[in-house]
Symmetry: C2
Subunit: 196 residues, 2 copies
């Protein structure tokens, strides 16, 4: 298809999306061009706007359009408790339980030595700085209960404890091997109450 | 995430892609914003360019940036044979066999009464007009060997035969129930030779 340079470029660009191979990318491009050009335009603009406007909260690291995110700026949240999660999706899962009223720190990743992702990449120094504000009294580790999430919790826990912080971990009510995002609300709520 | 309007909009826009649910859309948005903002910008531009520049070949209906696509303009192709396929991906599969040197007509779809897609939507009238150029001597039906593809071949075949056209169908060397795009080259080549 030598006279379809822009189509080929679109297919290549769609392959940058995680989990999208060449067949899926073709299917997506054909679908948009054949049946949903309005959707293609909306997506184009949404990508542009998000890249331009979405940044990281200076306090908790999550995605926000403001200097400080809504959760960090909410005066009703208990500033003495700081819950550490891997991703905004995990934070959203915890929020849905309505069992936690403290603040968050979002790692935006997890330790993954095989991928070359170490403590520096997930902002451990920034977390220690955040927890040292004189207000935080307890850091709750709510990383996933996968091998990488446990390793992340271990490394962060050690770093915090050696500096005198009180560190707790979600109770093992959460089934081992699972990701918070996919766990039912009751289990997460129970694990919050039983944190150790 | 009330302070993440552009992020929410991005997630909603990604859901317009076929096969992308809310979890995948979140994952894609997070990945792009956290790890591949360059990819997000490339995809945004690629979508914009494709919508602006990709149109349909006036002769065969496939995607092209020109008035007439490269295949239709190629004087070395046998203009007496016209091969009808459902999608550009199916056409590409036939091209990879190198067993067909004629021209194509791309339906850009298939009959699907349940989805309200009838003969008009897949351009049967345009196909008849195309086949009536005085040069085409044989129309080869190469729609998929699925229920919908067979129904499409049947309806198109009847319409063409009733107007006196010579109509053939890919031989059943192609395993029933399968889609051309995923069939090995040898099988497609054999089915082309044995067309009936
Ligand atoms: Zn924040
Ligand atoms: Zn053409």
């Amino acid at each position: 298809m030598s006279d379809t340079h822009t189509l080929d470029t679109l297919i290549q660009s769609l392959r940058r999306l995680p989990g999208v191979g060449v067949r899926s990318a073709q299917r997506m491009a054909f679908h948009l061009l054949q049946h949903d050009r309005e959707g293609a335009q909306l997506l184009s603009r949404a990508l542009q706007d998000a890249v331009a406007q979405v940044r990281h909260c200076t306090l908790c690291h999550t995605f926000t359009e403001a200097e400080v995110c809504a959760t960090c700026s909410d005066p009703r949240r208990d500033a003495t408790k700081l819950c550490v999660v891997e991703t905004p999706a995990d934070q959203a899962a915890l929020e849905r339980t309505a069992a936690f009223k403290g603040r968050y720190f979002v790692l935006m990743g997890k330790l993954s030595p095989l991928d070359g992702i170490g403590p520096r990449d997930i902002g451990v120094a920034k977390l220690i700085e955040r927890a040292s504000d004189g207000v935080v009294q307890e850091v709750i580790l709510a990383t996933n209960f996968t091998a990488e999430g446990e390793a992340t919790a271990h490394v962060i826990g050690q770093a915090l404890k050696s500096r005198g912080f009180t560190v707790t971990r979600l109770a093992r009510g959460v089934p081992a091997g699972s990701e918070l995002e996919y766990v039912d609300l009751g289990t997460i709520a129970h694990a919050l109450v039983d944190r150790r």
